[in-house]
C-alpha cells in the first residue's frame, strides 16, 4: 500500500503550513514572550491568559470563534475585506492565521521561561559593554536562550502538524489549499478506509519522531526545560 495523490498533496501542504507557521510564530511570539517576561504592567496577567487560552479551549470551539471572527460579519473579516485581502476562512492563509493563534502558547511559553531564567544581568552587562538593544538581543539573548527557542520551534512545528480541529473548522477541506494530513487521516477513518489511515498515520508518527529526535539531538542541553 502506498500514498494516493491526495495523501501526498496533504503531506506537502502540511509541511509547508507547519514550516511557515513556525517561522511566523517565532517572529511574533518572541516579542510577546519578551514583554511577558520583562513587564511589570498590570496587563501582564490578562495578556498571558489570552495567549494561554488555546491550551484550554477545545479546538472546534476555538475554530468556531475564529470562523465568526474571520468571517464576513466578524471584525477581522471586515478588516481583511477593507484591506482588499478578501476573507481568510477556507484559504491556506486562513489556516496559517488559525494555526498561529492556536499554537501561540507552545511558542511563547518556552521563550518566556528562557528569558525569565536568563534574568536581567547579562543584558545589563552587555549594555555596559556598549551593546544597543537589538545588538543585546541577537548577541546575548538569542545565544543564551537558544534551548528555549529550540523548544519553542519544535513545539510550534509539531503542534501545527498535529493540529486538526481548528484546521477542520477554518479550512473547509479543500484539496491542495487546506486539506492537511490530519484531516486526510480523519477522512480515511470516517470513510472506513482504515488501511490508508494507518499508513498515513504511521508516516506522520515516524516523521514527527524523526524531526523531534534530530532537534533534540542537536540541542542536548535541555537543563532549564
Amino acid at each position: 500500500m502506498g500514498f494516493s495523490e491526495a495523501d501526498l498533496q496533504a503531506i506537502g501542504l502540511t509541511l509547508r503550513l507547519a514550516s511557515l507557521v513556525t517561522v511566523v510564530l517565532l517572529i511574533l511570539g518572541t516579542p510577546i514572550a519578551w514583554w511577558l517576561a520583562r513587564t511589570r504592567s498590570r496587563w501582564k496577567g490578562p495578556v498571558g491568559a489570552v495567549v494561554a487560552l488555546p491550551l484550554v479551549l477545545p479546538p472546534t470551539v476555538l475554530g468556531l470563534y475564529l470562523l465568526l471572527l474571520l468571517g464576513p460579519n466578524g471584525p477581522v473579516g471586515q478588516f481583511t475585506q477593507w484591506l482588499g485581502l478578501g476573507l481568510l476562512p477556507f484559504t491556506f492563509w486562513g489556516l496559517v492565521v488559525a494555526s498561529v493563534f492556536y499554537s501561540l502558547p507552545f511558542v511563547v511559553q518556552p521563550i518566556q521561561n528562557a528569558i525569565e531564567a536568563l534574568g536581567k544581568r547579562p543584558l545589563e552587562v552587555a549594555a555596559t559593554l556598549r551593546a544597543g538593544p537589538w545588538d543585546r538581543f541577537f548577541t546575548v539573548v538569542v545565544p543564551l536562550a537558544k534551548p528555549g527557542f529550540f523548544t519553542a520551534a519544535i513545539l510550534g512545528f509539531a503542534h501545527t502538524v498535529g493540529e486538526f480541529g481548528v484546521v477542520l473548522m477554518i479550512g473547509g477541506n479543500i484539496p491542495g489549499a487546506t486539506r492537511v494530513v490530519s484531516v486526510q487521516i480523519y477522512d480515511h477513518v470516517e470513510a472506513m478506509e482504515y488501511g490508508q489511515a494507518h499508513w498515513l498515520a504511521a508516516t506522520m508518527v515516524v516523521f514527527s519522531f524523526l524531526v523531534l529526535l534530530v532537534l533534540y539531538s542537536l540541542n542536548p542541553n535541555q537543563r532549564r526545560f
Binding site: P122, E124, A127, L129, R130, V140, P143
Partner: protein
C-alpha cells in the same frame, strides 16, 4: 585639572527605600562608596551607569552631561566600564571573546588594542584567554571581567563590590591587581564596598552612605578617624597613614618610614627607598602614656595630642589623636574607660602614643 569632575544628583523613591544624593566627586583616583547593605551604594552606582533610571536626576562626568531633565544617555552610549559583583562573563563566549565583545563596540580599534594589551598585562590573564568562563576560577573570572571593562578604554570605571562574592584567598589573589590599577589608571574609579579593609587599601576618597543618604565625604584617612562615623566605632577601627620609605636596616630587618610630621619603624618592607606606602594602625594596637616611657620594648612611641574622647561602649573609650610636628597625622587609640579616668585624660592634653603594630596596606 578639573576638580569635582563628577557631579551626581539623584532622587529615587521605592516602597521602603529612598535615595537622595547630591555629590561632587573627584575626576581622578579611586572613590569608594562605602556603607552597609541597603545603604544605597549599589543603587547610586547603577544610577550613574544608567542601569537604573529616575526621572529626576542630573549627572555630569568630566564635562559631559549624561542625564539632565528629560535627557538621558542610555547605558550603552556612556563611555564607562562596569564590573559587577558576581562573575558576569558571557558563558557562551571564551575569555578572549568576552574581552573582544566590548572592545569591538567601543570604537577606536587601535586604542582598544592598546587598552586591551595593557589590561591583560595588568591583570595577568594572558594565559587564560582561550578558556571558557566555566573553566576559570572565581578570581580569574573576575580578573577577566575587570580587564573587559578596562579594554573599553572607559572614561569612568564603576566597580560594584568586585570582591564580595569571592572567598578570602581569591580576594588576596585579586587585591594586588586592583592596587596596580589604582596606581596605573588615569581615570576616576567609583568602587562600591562594605569592607573597610578594601577601602583602606584602595580608595583615595570615601563617600560614606547610610539609608540612601551621603553621611560624609572626604579623604579616606580623614573619614577613618572621625569618631562620629561608624568606621571609627568598628572593631577594626584604624587610622590610615600615608608615608614614604626612608631607609632599610637589614641587620634588624626593619624599615623606617617618614610620615607627615614624624617617623615610623616597621618590619622590613620589600619596597624601594622613596616609594609611597600606605599603612594602617588599628585603634586597639595603640596605648597611651602621660610621660615618655623612654625604655620600652615598643619601638614606635609618638608624641601626640588628644583631639577628642568618645565613649563607645560601657568599658571602652575611643581617643582621636594627632601626631607629628604639624599635628597632621591622625591616630586612633582604643582604651578602657578605667584607664581614661585613672590617667585623667582630657581633650587638648599632650600624651605619648605607643604603637604596637603597623599594617602595611600597599
Amino acid at each position: 585639572m578639573i576638580q569635582d569632575a563628577i557631579h551626581a544628583r539623584f532622587q529615587l523613591d521605592y516602597p521602603g527605600f529612598s535615595l537622595q544624593v547630591d555629590l561632587e566627586l573627584p575626576g581622578r583616583g579611586v572613590t569608594a562608596l562605602f556603607g552597609h547593605s541597603g545603604s544605597g551604594k549599589t543603587t547610586l552606582l547603577r544610577l550613574i551607569a544608567g542601569l537604573t533610571r529616575v526621572s529626576d536626576g542630573y549627572l555630569k562626568v568630566n564635562g559631559e552631561v549624561w542625564q539632565e531633565g528629560r535627557e538621558f544617555l542610555p547605558t550603552h552610549r556612556r563611555p564607562l566600564g562596569y564590573v559587577f559583583q558576581e562573575a558576569s562573563l558571557f558563558p557562551h563566549l571564551s575569555a578572549r571573546a568576552n574581552l573582544a565583545y566590548g572592545m569591538k563596540r567601543a570604537g577606536d580599534a587601535a586604542m582598544g588594542r592598546e587598552a586591551l594589551a595593557q589590561a591583560v598585562e595588568l591583570l595577568g590573564i594572558g594565559h587564560l584567554l582561550d578558556r571558557r568562563p566555566q573553566q576559570l576560577s572565581g578570581g580569574e573570572r573576575q580578573r577577566v571581567a575587570i580587564a573587559r571593562a578596562l579594554a573599553l578604554h572607559p572614561k569612568l570605571l564603576l566597580m560594584d563590590e568586585p570582591l564580595a562574592a569571592l572567598d578570602l584567598k581569591r580576594k588576596q589573589e585579586i587585591l594586588p591587581y586592583l592596587e596596580r590599577l589604582h596606581d596605573a589608571l588615569e581615570i576616576p574609579v567609583l568602587y562600591v564596598s562594605h569592607s573597610p579593609d578594601e577601602v583602606a587599601r584602595l580608595a583615595d576618597t570615601l563617600v560614606l552612605m547610610e539609608q540612601g543618604r551621603v553621611r560624609a565625604q572626604g579623604p579616606v584617612s580623614e573619614l577613618f578617624s572621625r569618631l562620629d562615623l561608624t568606621l571609627a566605632q568598628d572593631q577594626d577601627a584604624s587610622a590610615i597613614i600615608e608615608g614614604v620609605v626612608l631607609s632599610h636596616n637589614d641587620d634588624y630587618a626593619l624599615s623606617r618610614l617618614e610620615i607627615p610630621g614624624g617617623f615610623l619603624t616597621v618590619a622590613r618592607l620589600q619596597r624601594d627607598i622613596h616609594e609611597q606606602v600606605r599603612v594602617r594602625i588599628h585603634a586597639r594596637d595603640v596605648s597611651l602614656a602621660l610621660d615618655d616611657p623612654g625604655t620600652s620594648s615598643i619601638i614606635n612611641i609618638l608624641p601626640a595630642r588628644i583631639l577628642e574622647l568618645r565613649e563607645i561602649e560601657q568599658a571602652q573609650v575611643l581617643v582621636k589623636l594627632c601626631t607629628g610636628a604639624g599635628e597632621r597625622t591622625p591616630l586612633l587609640a582604643r582604651i578602657t574607660r578605667h584607664s581614661r579616668d585613672r590617667l585623667r585624660l582630657y581633650e587638648g592634653q599632650s600624651v605619648f602614643a605607643q604603637v604596637k603594630a603597623v599594617a602595611l596596606m600597599d
